[in-house]
């Protein structure tokens, strides 16, 4: 569904992506694992057009995202949803206004229909009766859920997650993982998750890809990853400070 081909990006002299090649399959959950600061967010920002690559391309179906004009790209973006690390809810809007925002901007639905869609999505992420609350009144976990409700409110074909469990306690992280699984199974949507949370990756992923030093160094199913003898991936999965991956 999405093909990332030889993607390169540098900031000044610092190479972040150094030839990333990755295929994201339709209807699957793909988790891109990697250490903090390795360029996972930079990679996901390329997919949604927030960054432009120095070279390489990203294909979505047969369209080259990296070469599209703003207007055409916006049409593609309407088929995407994204959950940001901090949920990125609009502070000045209520929960209902946040979740209904894409519908208000891109459809002619009436206020009543938008509210109905908002309530349905909030219900899907396990939240009821919080429509009139402001983001500042929500816990971190609730913000993520509201962010997910907003990401799926347009029934997108692809949802991207930027570190969905960062800052959550282990129980809440597991609950987020369950939420990801439940919603993906129900909606049959393609999910792309970037994370350094191994438990999350092993639990939800149909496919795991590991990003290290600007390249995908390993990819496979959760089971293949568990059995891997790739020393770098092994070190990452085992959470060891010593090994081929140096701490810097």
């Amino acid at each position: 569904m999405i093909n990332i081909i030889d993607l390169k990006k540098s900031f000044g002299a610092k190479k972040i992506l150094d030839g990333v090649n990755l295929t994201i399959e339709k209807g699957q959950i793909t988790v891109i694992l990697g250490r903090s600061g390795v360029g996972k967010s930079v990679l996901i920002k390329h997919i949604v057009g927030l960054l432009r690559p120095d070279s390489g391309k990203i294909l979505f179906e047969d369209m080259e995202l990296t070469a599209m004009k703003e207007h055409d790209f916006n049409e593609v973006l309407k088929r995407f949803g994204m959950l940001f690390q901090g949920a990125a809810l609009f502070d000045s809007m209520t929960v209902a206004e946040n979740v209904g925002f894409p519908l208000r901007e891109h459809t002619d639905l009436s206020d009543a229909d938008i509210l109905k869609a908002v309530q349905e999505k909030l219900h899907r992420v396990g939240l009821v009766g919080i429509e009139d609350m402001m983001p500042a009144e929500l816990s971190g976990g609730m913000k993520k859920r509201v962010g997910l409700a907003r990401a799926i409110v347009m029934d997108p074909e692809i949802v991207l997650f930027d570190e969905p469990t960062t800052g959550q306690d282990p129980i809440m992280s597991d609950s987020v993982a369950d939420l990801i699984l439940e919603t993906q199974r129900a909606l049959k949507t393609t999910y792309v998750i970037i994370s350094h949370d191994i438990a999350l990756a092993l639990k939800v992923a149909d496919k795991i890809a590991m990003l290290h030093e600007g390249r995908i160094i390993a990819e496979g199913t959760s089971d293949e990853m568990r059995r891997t003898d790739n020393p770098m991936l092994r070190q990452f999965l085992d959470g060891k400070a010593t090994g081929p991956i140096k701490i810097y």
Partner: protein, 256 residues
């Protein structure tokens, strides 16, 4: 010497970058202003924030400025026996100069800093990125309503400042210092022309554009978390205030 040249180069580079980015943002804002759909709700919301919520501070500033102008000009003009000119002195100073400049500076301090802070916070918490990913152009959604609000509300606030400033001057001149009411108003009507008021309003239009655009620019391109947001707010107020004063001089010299 090398250090000095490097410093000079850095300053020049920053100046050119800021000027270019401001120009580009203005160009985009103009372009998206006329790109449908036009969301009037956002524009009215910003007009309310910039205009209505600045009324109190503008009324306070205008009134006391008019009062002190009357007091000072009375003391000066009395020496020449020209107390009858206090009315036109107050009215002309406020209409041509102090009304637009003081309203501009006060509203820049209040609304400009708030705009930079709000957009800066939206930037560092990825709310602006979220707009992009929801196929909503952030310049159109965030910058255009603020720039339009600045353009529309600064002149209106200047009219209020002019009015309350003259009332303040009248109260001090006529009620406190005992200048004849007929002389105070009559001489003002004799000397003040519509073109004086229009000149002041033209200035305020430019000040509104400067304040809103600079605030949006600094807010929109904020980096560096909470500290960056604070820096953006400060920088936007400083640069907008300086640009208001410089452009005021330039416009005054053309309008003289």
């Amino acid at each position: 010497m090398k250090q000095y040249l490097e410093y000079l180069g850095t300053i020049t580079g920053n100046f050119v970058t800021t000027a270019g980015s401001l120009g580009l943002m203005l160009f985009k804002a103009v372009m998206y202003t006329f790109t449908p759909p036009i969301k009037f709700r956002n524009i009215f919301k910003q007009m309310e924030f910039v205009g209505v919520q600045s009324l109190f501070v503008v009324i306070l500033t205008g009134t006391f400025t008019g009062m002190v102008l009357a007091l000072q000009s009375y003391n000066a003009l009395k020496r020449f026996g020209a107390e009858s000119l206090v009315g036109p002195t107050v009215a002309l100073s406020i209409a041509r100069e102090l009304g637009p400049v003081l309203a501009g500076l006060m509203v820049t301090g209040r609304a400009g800093s708030a705009m930079a802070t709000e957009l800066g916070t939206m930037r560092v918490t990825e709310q602006i990125d979220a707009l992009y990913t929801m196929a909503v152009n952030p310049i159109k959604y965030l910058v255009v309503p603020r720039v339009l609000a600045g353009l529309l509300m600064f002149p209106l606030l200047t009219i209020v400042t002019d009015f309350v400033g003259f009332i303040g001057g009248y109260l001090v001149g006529v009620k406190l210092l005992g200048i004849n009411q007929g002389v105070f108003i009559g001489r003002t009507i004799d000397f003040v022309q519509v073109s004086d008021i229009v000149a002041g309003l033209t200035k305020s239009l430019v000040f509104g554009l400067i304040a809103a655009l600079v605030a949006c620019y600094y807010g929109f391109y904020t980096t560096g978390g909470a500290e960056g947001v604070g820096k953006s707010a400060t920088s936007s107020v400083v640069l907008a205030s300086v640009l208001i004063l410089i452009s005021d001089y330039l416009m005054s010299s053309f309008m003289a």
